[in-house]
């Protein structure tokens, strides 16, 4: 059967944000001259010196890459935004030909050409490189073929027709062939943090655990960035970050609602930008450990996602409530599914039918994430009301995803969140049997078939039908419980302007940081 097409930025599947412990912040005493033309962004993770175009897939790695490199184009909910490419054409829906900009130089002065594009995509297609976009470019049916037509034209040929092709090719950042051509290990080499890129900024200093400092790329092809310096300040401790933000030490921070609540937005000259990342926060049931569908349904019936959302996101301004695996903003989203509205009697009944007593479930969640913590506590309490004991395990998010990763993990349920692409097919890596991120570990042929059908169908209306059915199926299977589709809230100091122009996008925060401005 047809294998899965492309999953956009598949690896941003996260077990939820990060970490307690350290970070850093200061009070303002820095002279304005110092601060003057610098935008400081508090990030809660360390991109690390291994950050590279091929394998990096975590939020802050990608944000760093976004500053330094450019993709051919960005593909978001509202369509295509061109970067290194200027247009595309296709005659047969198999071969896509892109025209490249001819005015782009690498920051070391070398010209950017089609060779760099071919090099990057080819490296991405090598399985041993463990590139994040591998599964978007290599299918059972064959590999997407990359061809240099001339110095400023490349073409990609898909092995089969798919409506998702443009999305699958997007968001791959182009790296300089002349720098990386002899590199075999993308994670460990001398070039990663000594970046030569085509992005708006260049890394000038990276202090592990402290900050990444960028300087504007004077030759940025979209125009010299307004702001001279950008600093990604690593502040893993959210309390510190908040304080630093309020004191003006940092200019921007991705806050959660309870933090926004705590802060004195107006007084501290701050503004908030709430934007959707198309994220779904969920609770998954490990079918290997809870094989009985009735039991799973009982569990879901015992839960109350409104309470969970209220406890973790406080106000409906900050979230939507999803009832399927797709974000409510998706044009394929349907609510014509089993919603598992809380019904504890039914839950108890189902348990009885299943003949289960004394059920104990081990639930993993990211202990450093206040939202998941609150949700986990509610799950524990709500399940205890139907006689199910929940053993909570507050893990580190990395550790948790690592464990979810192994099929024989001993969790019965886990919390998590993902940001997939625009097209529903990008979600297949979570829901197809054997897919890399199918942490439910189920094997349901119908679901696989529906994904395959949807992928191969080019008619929009028919696709909608297929995905309606798929959403209902997955809900019925009762191993996936979408809880929230929360917004990101970026709190920004008012001296930073142009946030709308720079455009807030999932994962990278800014689609084009060169458009940010400072007004004193």
């Amino acid at each position: 059967g047809g294998k899965d097409p492309v999953v956009e930025s598949a690896s941003t599947v996260e077990a939820e944000s990060a970490v307690s412990a350290s970070g850093s912040s200061e009070q303002k005493d820095t002279s304005t001259a110092d601060k003057g033309n610098t935008f400081t962004y508090a990030i809660n993770g360390d991109p690390g010196e291994s950050t590279n175009v091929i394998t990096s897939s975590s939020r802050w790695d990608l944000s760093t890459i976004k500053m330094v490199y450019s993709p051919l184009y960005m593909y978001n909910a509202d369509g295509i935004n061109w970067f290194l490419a200027t247009e595309y054409s296709t005659d047969d829906d198999l071969t896509y030909t892109f025209k490249l900009r001819d005015d782009v130089k690498w920051s070391d002065g070398e010209p950017f050409t089609a060779d760099d594009v071919v090099f990057t995509y080819s490296e991405m297609e090598k399985e041993e490189n463990l590139g994040w976009a591998y599964s978007q470019l290599v299918y059972d049916e064959g590999t997407v073929e990359i061809k240099k037509i001339d110095d400023y034209t490349v073409s990609f040929t898909f092995p089969f027709k798919t409506p998702t092709a443009l999305e699958m090719l997007s968001q791959v950042f182009i790296m300089p062939e002349h720098i990386y051509k002899n590199v075999t290990d993308y994670e460990h080499n001398d070039y990663n943090m000594n970046t030569i890129g085509t992005g708006p900024y260049q890394v000038v200093e990276y202090v592990p655990g402290s900050y990444v400092k960028f300087k504007r790329n004077e030759y940025y092809f979209k125009g010299k960035p307004e702001i001279e310096n950008v600093v990604f300040r690593i502040i893993e401790n959210s309390d510190t970050a908040i304080l630093a933000l309020q004191s003006g030490e940092v200019d921007a921070y991705q806050a959660i609602p309870s933090e926004v609540e705590k802060m004195n937005i107006a007084e501290n000259n701050l503004s908030t930008y709430s934007y959707s990342e198309g994220r779904i926060g969920y609770l998954m049931i490990n079918v290997k450990n809870v094989p009985d569908q009735k039991v799973r349904q009982a569990i879901l019936f015992a839960l109350n996602k409104d309470d969970m959302n209220k406890a973790s996101y406080l106000s409906e301004d900050y979230y939507l409530t999803p009832y399927t695996f797709l974000p409510p903003t998706s044009r394929f989203y349907t609510e014509n599914v089993e919603k598992y509205t809380q019904n504890q009697d039914k839950a108890k009944e189902l348990l009885k039918e299943a003949g289960v007593t004394d059920l104990t479930l081990k639930v993993g969640y990211a202990g450093s994430d206040p939202a998941q913590t609150a949700q986990a506590l509610l799950v524990q309490q709500e399940l205890s009301e139907i006689g199910v004991t929940v053993e909570l395990d507050a893990a580190d998010s990395t550790a948790l995803s690592a464990q979810m990763h192994s099929a024989d993990n001993d969790y019965d349920m886990y919390f998590g969140g993902y940001i997939m692409g625009i097209d529903p097919d990008t979600f297949s890596s979570l829901f197809e049997s054997n897919a890399s991120y199918n942490y439910m570990y189920y094997d349901v042929k119908e679901i696989d078939d529906l994904f395959a059908k949807g992928r191969a169908e080019n008619d929009e209306a028919k696709r909608k039908e297929i995905y309606d059915e798929l959403q209902a199926k997955i809900q019925d299977y009762a191993s996936f419980y979408p809880i929230t589709s929360n917004n990101k809230i970026l709190v920004v100091n008012k001296r930073i302007q142009g946030v709308e122009d720079a455009k807030l996008v999932p994962v990278y925060t800014f689609e084009d940081a060169s458009l940010l401005k400072i007004v004193e």
């Binding site: 970490v19 412990a21 970070g23 463990l130 502040i235 690592a402 464990q403 054997n434 890399s436």
Partner: protein
Amino acid sequence: MAKYIFKRIINAIPLLILITMLCFALISLAPYDAVDAMTTPKMSPELIEMIRQKYGYDQPVYIRYFKWLDGLIGGNFGYSIVNKTSIYNDLASRIPNTIRLVLPSYITAYILAIILGLIAGANKGKAVDKIIDSFASVSLAVPTFWIAMILIYIFGYKLRILPILGMHTVGNSSLIDYFRHFVLPYVVLTFGFLPGNIRYVRASTITEYSEDYVMVQKAFGASKAEILFSHVCKNALLPIITKIGMALPALVTGAVITESVFGWPGVGPYFVRAVQGMDYPVIMVILVLSSTLVIVGNLISDILYCVVDPRIRRGA
């Protein structure tokens, strides 16, 4: 003496080997390894095998141990399985920060402890002694992170006179800026090291005062000051000076909690992060490193003792 030192060094070697073995065994027992972190169920077995080979996981445990050990000795500490970063580089950039924090705190605590301990010990039973001793025993019961929190609250939130986190304001590498960041963690850490040392010095001073030779000196007309400075002080401090070696491991892991609270970019947060993320290679390197430092520290202490104490120097 040279013989004694040589013997001590020889004795430390099996201990070091044992430690590395223990640490390696722990890594090997870890629930998952670097390869697990990279592979997905969809990958072909050949690819997985290839990755295993690339990382040397196809070899028997003892070979891996020797390779690992060889790496350790050669400064190749391997890579984090979470960040994929070079552990050597990570530590190389963090350890100096930790030292910058721990060393001054330790020295301050030491000096303060010596002064207070000597004062208390020399005035055993009097009011000063009671005050100092009570201070030490109460502060022993105070968790450092709690002190840190309170200080952050007062100086960071309430008064807003000191920065609370990190080591520098970005782009500002002035000494004043550093110092302002340094103050709070330094105070907390000093406070953490202090009570134990005070008690030690005090006890040692009291013991020394009860020695017969002190009475003999009195009988020979020595004044209080002469006794304190020319006799007791040296004898009481000798065991303390030699404890300096024991501070060696603190230079790496002596401030895990304080650094974490204050976001000091030292080994502490890095280690905590690794533990939370089950980043085994990192954990084990730190484990080996700090254990090694303990052993080396003990060695230094013993050698120092041997150098300063004539009983061992001449006796053994």
